[in-house]
Structures are given as C-alpha cells and as structure tokens.
C-alpha cells in the first residue's frame, strides 16, 4: 500500500517539554493519536513525546496550538484537514 504524505512537518523541541507522564496534552488533542512517550529523558528530567508515524498527520496543528510549553512546531505542508477541537464558529 502506498504511504500517505503527511500534511504537516511536526518537530518536537525536547528541551522545552514537560513530559508525557505529567502533561500529555499533545496525545489528548491529536486526532490521529500520533504521539507516544520517548525513551530518552531531556535535560530537565522529563520524557518528551515522539511521533509514531508522521505520514498519518492531518495537519490540524492542534498539538502546536495546545502545547503549553511552546514545545511543538507543526508546519503545514498543504491545506490541513479541519481540526477536531470544537470550532463551530470558525467561519464567522
């Protein structure tokens, strides 16, 4: 089967992250469930996430917008899919 191309390039800034165990907001807001805990600890003692399979990324940028520690960058490659967080009045 042909691999899908990811809609965004997701970069995790490991040194800013406060860990999947204590925070985990990225895993919660990702509609494709792409985040899993990394086995490598960062300089402040937290385990930042890593991306399981980037090709599934829908480009919604939820992870970047919700990350409280400015630790995720999601650069859109093409027009992303509509986000999964409630955004009923987006067209206003």
């Amino acid at each position: 089967m042909q691999k899908k191309s990811p809609k965004a390039k997701v970069t995790i800034i490991a040194e800013s992250c406060k860990g999947m165990d204590d925070c985990g907001i990225c895993r919660f807001v990702c509609p494709k469930d792409l985040f899993e805990a990394c086995k490598e600890m960062n300089a402040t003692g937290y385990y930042p996430p890593e991306i399981k399979d980037e090709s599934d990324c829908s480009g919604c940028q939820n992870c970047m917008i919700c990350c409280p520690d400015f630790a995720i960058v999601a650069e859109k490659k093409t027009d992303g899919a509509p986000n999964s967080l409630e955004d009923e009045d987006a067209e206003q």
């Binding site: 970069t11 919660f28 402040t44 650069e75 955004d87």
Partner: protein, 276 residues
Amino acid sequence: MSTSTHPLKKYTRSHIMRTTTCPGCGIGTVSQAILRAIDELELDMDDFVFVSGIGCSAWIPSPFYNADTLHTTHGRPIAYATGVKLGLPDKHVMVVSGDGDLTAIGGNHLIHAARRNIDLTVVLVNNGIYAMTGGQTAPTTPRGLTTITSPHGTLEHTFDISPMIAAAGASFVARWTTYHPRQMTRSIKKGIQKKGFALIEAVSQCPVQYGRASNLGDAVSMLTYFKDNSVRISKTQKMDAAELQSKIVVGEFVDTEKAELTTELAQVKNKLRASP
C-alpha cells in the same frame, strides 16, 4: 535533529528557555493564544504594555514576553494599567492575571474599570483556586469543593465573572476554556481591536492544585471535563438554572460599542484648550 523554532518564539525573550508553569498547566495555552492573536493581527510588540499582578498567570507576560511588562502588586494590575493607558493612550494595554488576583484581591478595580469602559484588554485566567500559594479556596472555587482551607467543602457560592463584568458595563466579554484555544485567540483579537474595556475569561486547568482538590487529576482529565461540560451561550436559553449549575457557559457575552474613557478625556482636554 531539526532546528525548527516555534513561530511565536520571536515574541518572547530569547534568554528564557522554558515556561515557569507546572507540567500540564493551561497557562501556556493561554499564553500562546495571546501571542497568536497579536501575530495574526500583525501588531508590533513595542506598541503593547503588558501589566500583570501576582499569581501563576501573572507570569504569562512577565518576564516571558519581549515587550514592556509591568509586574505589579497583588490585585492592582488594573489600577496600574488604568494609569498607563491614561498616560499613553496610543499603546495597547493588556492586563494578564489570574482569578485570585483580579476578582478576589483586586475585585473592585476590575468592576470599576469595566464601568468606566477604559480601553484595556484583560485576559483573566480562571483556574478556580489559589494555585501558587498551595490550593486555598478562591471566590471562583465551585461550591462544595474540598480545598486545604475548606476541609468540609467550601460553603460559599461561586463568583461568575463574565456575566458580572458584562453587567458592570464592559464593551466586550468572552469566556472560553483551554479546550477552545482557537476561539480564545479569536476573542483576544476582538478584545485588542475593541475600543473599550474587553475581558476574556480563560478557564484553565490546574492539574496540581485544582486537580488534586477536585479529584479530576491530571491535565488530560481536566481538559476532558471542559470538553464535556462547556455549553455555548447560544444554547443556554433553553436550559434551566439547575441544568446550568455544573456547566461552563462559553462564548461571547457582550460585543458592543459605547463611549470610551480615554477618547472622552481627550475630547474634554481639547475643548478646554480651545476655550479662552
């Protein structure tokens, strides 16, 4: 490793590597919403003065934002901001602080700034508890919640901030939770552009203090709670008071145009100068 930098990093002081908040705290999400609003409006950080008080959320602008920041005494950021705005009416003056700071200790400043309709943008981060000092009962704590100062559950009723400020006469009032960061950004944009008093109440999770007190636990379960319990203001007309008791009403409460204090003051000054 990629060398990508965060698109909002250009608005923060370069020597500050990470936020000061606990893991999972919603304050960072609100911080991003503010910077994203400024970014989308293409405004210059040099045109802003950020004023904050004391508490966790007062750390949002100071020292993180690369702009003029004023970290003031407990409860008084709106009083300082009023002075800044009257002295420098061309600046965008934004107050970023918490519920304990702005509604408990500085409650009257908030109400009267709304009554005066002075052109301030107030981002009020409401986590429902005094988090920085160890989880004491705040006026915004839900009734019945057991905290370290209310071991048998708090007996007091909860302060409903947004409707109160709407009643006090603000030009723009909106409430969102950290589960609604896009809507929050949109409301902050409207608040900055509004000539008049704008309040954006950001209901935020405190997994450390509130999470423990309410047994909601971690950040993710608190966000799930916000997701399940927030109701759009447009849908509340059909609901009765009992139904709404445990809900978080989100949306834009007020969006109106009315006479603004600094403009009125300038007009009076011009009139007096013109008269012999």
